[in-house]
């Protein structure tokens, strides 16, 4: 009940943030551009539109999670609304979870809107509903849940600008860390390989949530891959939120 009240209030706050609509606008522009790009391409135009569209969903969704998520907790501290809130009979972890769930709800609505826009565009090309898109969108949503957890973790102890930079770095590292896997294969053995392996385990691998290739080329998606990605996102998000709670519960609000 208490977490729900905080989550709904967070949703109400986030949904009124104009930046979300600016991002949706750019996402729509991007979808339209994919149409132009498709016209210039030799081959299957639908593949280009699907590829660019899904990439746009992932990128603009992440942008929403970063720009709005990093300000959520900080704003409460900065504007001192947190003072009265924490004087009420709630635990600090309830506050943080409420904020997180509120942001997740916001992202769900925004991602849904962007997906509808994207599906409409796709419909005009294929004249059929591409249901498998939802599988990709679901994993993008899992990725956004993880990014939001990271954004909230940083916003527990840092300013929105720094938190945005940290979270954006997490996003970029997460999408590039798969390169380490190739590196591990190239290194013969020894300390270097162990270090690369440790680094790869430590760093997030957000490519786990990327099934664009399978969707674009209509390849089968193994259920275990789907399940693994979901569990990876869930466990990673829980771990990050746990860290955030640890930091937040001992913090002094001066």
């Amino acid at each position: 009940m208490k977490i729900k009240a905080i989550a709904l209030n967070t949703f109400r706050e986030a949904i009124r943030d104009r930046i979300l609509y600016v991002i949706i606008f750019f996402a729509a522009v991007c979808f339209l551009c994919s149409r132009v790009l498709a016209l210039l391409t030799i081959g299957d135009q639908v593949k280009i539109i699907t590829d660019v569209g899904l990439a746009a969903l992932s990128f603009f969704g992440a942008l929403m999670a970063i720009l709005v998520g990093t300000g959520l907790v900080y704003k409460e501290i900065d504007k001192k609304t947190l003072y009265t809130l924490l004087s009420k009979p709630i635990h600090r972890y309830q506050f943080l979870l409420g904020k997180y769930l509120g942001m997740i709800l916001t992202l769900f609505v925004m991602l849904f809107l962007m997906t509808i826009l994207f599906l409409i565009l796709l419909f005009f090309h294929t004249f059929k509903l591409e249901w498998q898109i939802f599988a990709a969108v679901f994993l993008i949503f899992c990725e956004l849940c993880l990014i939001t957890a990271v954004a909230i973790l940083f916003s527990c102890f840092s300013t929105p600008i720094l938190s945005s930079i940290y979270t954006l770095s997490f996003y970029l590292i997460g999408h590039l860390s798969w390169g380490l896997e190739t590196l591990i294969e190239k290194i013969n053995s020894g300390l270097g390989r162990a270090l690369a392996r440790a680094l790869y385990t430590l760093l997030p691998d957000l490519e786990n949530f990327n099934i664009k290739t399978e969707i674009v080329h209509h390849l089968p998606i193994p259920p275990e891959l789907f399940l693994f990605s979901f569990l990876y996102g869930f466990c990673y998000s829980v771990f990050i939120l746990f860290l955030a709670v640890l930091i937040f519960r001992r913090r002094d609000f001066i």
Binding site: M1, K4, A5, R12, K80, Y83, T84, R250
Partner: protein, 305 residues
């Protein structure tokens, strides 16, 4: 005295500057507040008033010391269920309307829907905001924010209310209204812990006070015990006499039109002035003996410290 609040040996310091040097803010605060009294917590800016309140509410964690609110550990949810708090310069979610805001906070107390609606209506009426119930908080003036802050502090019908500078930023009428609410709370048997530096208001409504300077309580007790009733000087306004006749009899003398304003400390000189007025057929317009005020006591203590 049945204790509503008991603080024992509260210490808190913050790390400041590039070298993270420790700065002691609270240096062993101990005090007790009885149930059903209005307790004034006085101190100059930066004395540690707000830090103490933040410790009580669990917003910051003290290094040492014990706090019990209504006989319970201060961080327990059961203690928080019975607490109301109005922060200094309150700022709330500006995208919410007054009633949405109170609705949100009342959900945190898990008050059922019907009771919630009645209570919100009641509180809006008490703080005089019933006409602004559907106005977004961003459109509220400072005084209105203070009132809605007061309303949220009373949502759970608290047994103890912590008010941090509740009269700041209010016009005289607003101050009177908030004072009346505070007195009504006491009449209902609730305890009010009031931090302020508006001494006239404290003097008017508080039963007991504690004065904090540089993180230490330098004096505390009942107001009438702290402030002596000894007459410090007498202010006299008279007419019908020449200034030269009075110059040696008063500490300060100002004339305005045909009236002369005198400040007399010595009682025998006051007698002389009265006799002079009588013999010269002058006129006394007013004669006010000035006793020590809380402000005098406060200024003296802060200066001594």
């Amino acid at each position: 005295m049945v204790e509503a609040l008991k603080i024992t040996g509260l210490h808190k310091s913050f790390k400041t500057g590039f070298l993270l040097k420790k700065k002691k803010i609270l240096k062993g605060i101990s005090l007790e507040v009885g149930q059903g009294e209005i307790f004034g917590y006085l101190g100059p800016n930066g004395a540690g008033k707000t830090t103490t309140i933040k410790c009580l509410l669990g917003l910051i964690f003290p290094e040492r010391g014990e706090i019990r609110i209504l006989g319970q550990p201060y961080l327990s949810l059961s203690a928080k269920e019975r607490i109301g708090f109005l922060p200094e310069n309150p700022y709330f979610y500006d995208y919410l309307t007054a009633s949405e805001f109170l609705e949100f906070y009342s959900q945190l107390f898990q008050i059922n829907k019907t009771e919630r609606e009645d209570r919100i209506q009641d509180l809006l009426r008490i703080v005089g905001l019933e006409k602004s119930a559907h106005l977004q908080l961003r459109k509220f003036s400072r005084g209105m924010l203070q009132r809605i802050g007061m309303a949220q502090a009373l949502l759970n019908k608290p047994s103890i209310v912590f008010l941090d500078e509740p009269l700041g930023g209010l016009d005289p009428l607003g101050r009177k209204e908030i004072r009346d609410i505070i007195i009504r709370l006491r009449d209902e048997g609730k305890t009010v812990f009031l931090s302020s530096h508006i001494l006239q208001d404290i003097e008017m409504i508080c039963d007991r006070v504690a004065i904090i300077v540089n993180g230490e309580i330098i004096n505390s007790g009942r107001l009438q015990d702290l402030v002596s009733e000894k007459i410090h000087f007498t202010e006299v306004i008279l007419s019908g006499l020449m200034e030269e006749q009075l110059r040696d009899l008063s500490e300060s003398l100002v004339s305005s039109g045909d009236k002369i304003f005198l400040k007399i400390t010595d009682e025998s000189k006051l007698e002389e002035v009265l006799q002079l007025v009588h013999s010269q057929k002058g006129k006394i317009h007013s004669l006010i003996p000035r006793t020590e005020t809380l402000e005098d006591l406060f200024v003296e203590m802060v200066k001594t410290k």
